[in-house]
């Protein structure tokens, strides 16, 4: 590597690293530092003693088992669906694929209320007595995360050469034997990778546990929230935040060992029509899709049906500020704000994500290079596993003096949302860049193409769909983002999820129905974006 190339790589790496340090490591360490240095004196003992509290043990145990159970269930439910949606073809499959991803990008407040409508004792599933139980929490966690398994494992399945399976079958292996000896080993890296990420998402779940658990259950994330916002027990919060960091680093290291990017499916169409023996899998997929759609259907129903019967009045009311002036701005204005913020957030995530994806998809020749690249990759996954409360409060206490007084800046929310979407962009773009044969670039260059020409002639034709798909996915994630946004200052221009939350928090039947109508609009907008993304047919979207 020439000196200039090294400088170039360093410069390219510097931008995302600077962003990560400034908008993640610095705020989080600022907040944890307050807990470790209460009154300016270093007191690690106070932090350690927190971990000995009885309550903390209960919280840790609940976190581990609820996240573990949700992860296992997501895998069990998701793997057969991944096969059906990624190896078969039938009319409407594109729609199904985008519907499956929808829960992942919806705000937790919306889903929490929709779920409770279903399982509250008076709801359609009230007879199951699930309300307020741990089962309900796990079910909601699975609802959010099934798509991660479907997309990730599906991407691996698409890249799996069916000839190996066919060969095994020819040699006399039954379907079960083929699956366990050929297919499963090929999928395993995808399953491990998906399971790791799902476990991370579940163990840091916040809104779902609060809404569904009815306070009887607490996980690490809700406990950090209570300790920080209500008790101002910063030592306690710091202890749990540090524990989260340790767990996520261990998990990422573990998954990096087994993980490899899925081979990107080449142009040959391998999807086949369903046959008779697929009936079981199709039924299974139908059941999973029904499970994912039921809460969404209950939202739609609540938005058009009130005590006054059926009507679309609540949709018309979205141009108002609600019953009793519940909102500062009409819902339609908030929708525009959300769309504007999502454009900026998606652009930021795309630019940073491309830089990261480019670096991690290089074929590093030295072990040091490979290790650095893997660390770099993992570092950008960290925001997925760290408390949004710690990060949000960290923003407020660290980015608080010139030249970095960003607390009131309108860029803060898009930046925070870009940090959330960044890992998803990296995971979408990197496998595609990795699939480009280095020799193509070399050939182009030897024919006299300059560097820019090579990028345009070789990389872009292969990667543009992935770039577009990643942008769309980041856009959808930003539209539905609530957690990080809600812990930052909310100024006079709230986003749609925040407005929905405000509507739910105000009394009045009209406000509640408007919240449902606004949720349907949000879900609809997200669904349209995901449908467009789906048309680009990039298997790695939403995969980890």
């Amino acid at each position: 590597m020439t000196f200039r190339a090294r400088i170039g790589i360093a410069a390219l790496a510097a931008v995302p690293i600077a962003v990560l340090v400034l908008f993640f490591l610095y705020p989080v360490s600022g907040m944890v530092g307050r807990g470790l240095w209460p009154d300016g004196k270093f007191q690690p003992g106070a932090v350690l003693s927190v971990l000995a509290r009885d309550r903390v043990h209960r919280v840790l145990w609940f976190t581990v088992w609820s996240a573990g159970a949700a992860t296992v269930l997501s895998v069990v439910l998701g793997v057969p669906v991944a096969f059906v949606l990624h190896r078969l073809r039938f009319p409407g499959i594109g729609l199904l694929r985008s519907l499956v991803v929808l829960p992942f990008v919806l705000p937790t407040v919306v889903v929490g209320v929709a779920f409770r409508h279903l399982i509250a004792p008076s709801g359609p599933l009230g007879g199951l007595h699930l309300d307020g139980t741990a089962v309900a929490i796990v079910a909601a966690l699975v609802f959010f995360n099934v798509s991660v398994v479907v997309r990730t494992v599906g991407a691996f399945w698409e890249g799996l050469d069916p000839r190996a399976e066919e060969a095994a079958a020819t040699l006399g292996a039954g379907p079960f034997r083929v699956f366990t000896t050929v297919t499963l080993p090929g999928l395993l890296p995808g399953i491990v990778s998906a399971a790791t990420v799902v476990f991370l998402f579940c163990s840091t779940a916040f809104g779902v546990v609060l809404t569904m658990g009815g306070l009887r259950y607490a996980n690490v994330e809700t406990e950090i929230y209570l300790l920080t916002t209500q008790e101002l027990d910063l030592s306690g919060a710091a202890a749990l935040s540090l524990l989260q960091l340790v767990v996520i680093v261990v998990l990422l290291a573990f998954s990096a060992r087994t993980r490899r990017a899925p081979a990107v499916a080449r142009a040959t169409v391998r999807a086949r029509r369903p046959r008779g023996r697929d009936a079981g899998l199709l039924l299974w997929t139908g059941a999973v899709v029904a499970f994912l759609l039921a809460p969404l259907a209950s939202l739609v129903l609540a938005s058009v049906h009130g005590s006054a019967g059926w009507s679309l009045d609540h949709y018309r009311a979205l141009e108002t500020t609600g019953q009793g002036n519940a909102l500062l701005v009409p819902v339609t204005t908030a929708l525009w704000t959300s769309l504007r913020i999502a454009v900026v957030a998606a652009a930021l995530a795309l630019v940073l994500g491309c830089a990261v994806a480019f670096l991690v998809s290089r074929r590093w020749r030295t072990p040091v290079g490979r290790r650095l690249s893997a660390t770099f990759d993992g570092a950008f996954m960290l925001p997925l596993g760290v408390s949004a409360v710690t990060l949000g409060f960290g923003f407020l206490i660290t980015l608080d003096h010139p030249p970095l007084d960003l607390r009131a800046s309108p860029m803060l929310v898009p930046i925070a949302q870009a940090m959330v979407a960044l890992p998803l962009v990296v995971r979408t773009v990197a496998p595609v860049l990795l699939s480009i044969d280095e020799r193509q670039r070399e050939a182009a260059a030897s024919l006299g193409a300059g560097p820019l020409r090579v990028l345009l002639a070789v990389d872009l034709p292969v990667a543009w769909r992935a770039l577009l798909a990643a942008t769309g996915f980041a856009f959808a994630v930003s539209l539905g983002e609530f957690g990080a946004t809600s812990f930052l200052a909310r100024d006079d221009n709230p986003t749609l999820p925040v407005v929905i939350y405000q509507l739910i928090s105000h009394p009045g039947e009209v406000n509640f129905a408007m919240a449902m109508a606004a949720s349907v609009v949000l879900a609809g907008a997200t669904a349209v974006v995901m449908l467009l993304v789906e048309r680009l047919r990039i298997g790695s979207v939403g995969a980890f």
Binding site: L12, H117, G123, A347
Partner: protein, 359 residues
Amino acid sequence: MRTSRLKQGSIAVLAVLALGAAAAGCGSSGTTSDKTGSDKAGKTVVIATHDSWAMSKEVLAEFTKQTGITVKTQQHGDAGELTNKLVLTKDHPLADGVFGIDNTFASRAIDEGVLAKYDADQPASVAKFALPGNDAHYLTPIDYGDVCVNIDDTWFAKKKVAPPKTFADLTDPAYKNLLVTPGATTSSPGLAFLVATIGRNGDGWKDYWKKLVANGVKIDAGWEDAYTVDFTAGGGKGDRPIVVSYSSSPPFTVPKGSDQPTTSALLDTCFRQVEYAGVLKGASNPKGAQEFIDFMLHKDFQAALPENMYVYPVDATVALPADWAKWAPTSPDPVQVSAADITSHRTEWLRDWRDVTSR
């Protein structure tokens, strides 16, 4: 050799892209960030507040007309989260003034040195809401509201069950599995209800809560869950006819074509939340914050409080909306617990409460 030149080239392009976008991002933030209040000294005042803040544009425009100052609000979660954020950021305050610290958090904000003194000219009726002693110089009362147990009268009439009246009734097996409340650790009305039970039961409050749990109380995270999902008359189709809410909630349950609400508040079960405003220490526009506090005591603002934030004005000479005057009376005898008491015991109470109510 060629390979590295190629990579170098693509790196350069991506780097330019990244820097370009970063620069564009900075540019757009530069043009719109006039919210800090410091860059247009005196013309903008930033008020930190809670999520329940709502005020009509006309009223705020009236303030700008009178003073030439524009108000920017920042919402920071509930009253507890708001107070704790101000404590954490006191070296570099988030805003110029604060509205929405209530009597359950007032002492913490004052003890932590978040606020600067300001004595506004107050209408006579405000005095009874003031904090005791020296604390009164830091926080000015603006509004109040009663957190009370609400019942669905229609439900009790239909089932031919006599509705409950007091705290003690709620532990009666006749009302098993009928009460839902937002949690004290996650919701400000939830905390108010807990404090009310402590004020009424004294040291016996933990036994009282054990009885509530044994009688099937349902504890939700937020008021919105309790009222809109679990309460029988809150828009959703809940199955619990007793809910912890506000004395101002019943007027919202007047059905179309009727003039009488279907719910009512139990006035023997109320805790009074008083909301205060103050000037932040180290504010860049303290004068603006003071003027806004004066304005909040002005009749225009006081009269707009019920319609916008569902709270009662501290100025008793301001008329309430007609349906409030009729259907939302406040408690003649709310439970009294001092702000100082709440601050010194809050953590202990909340820990004990969590132990009693969670598993």
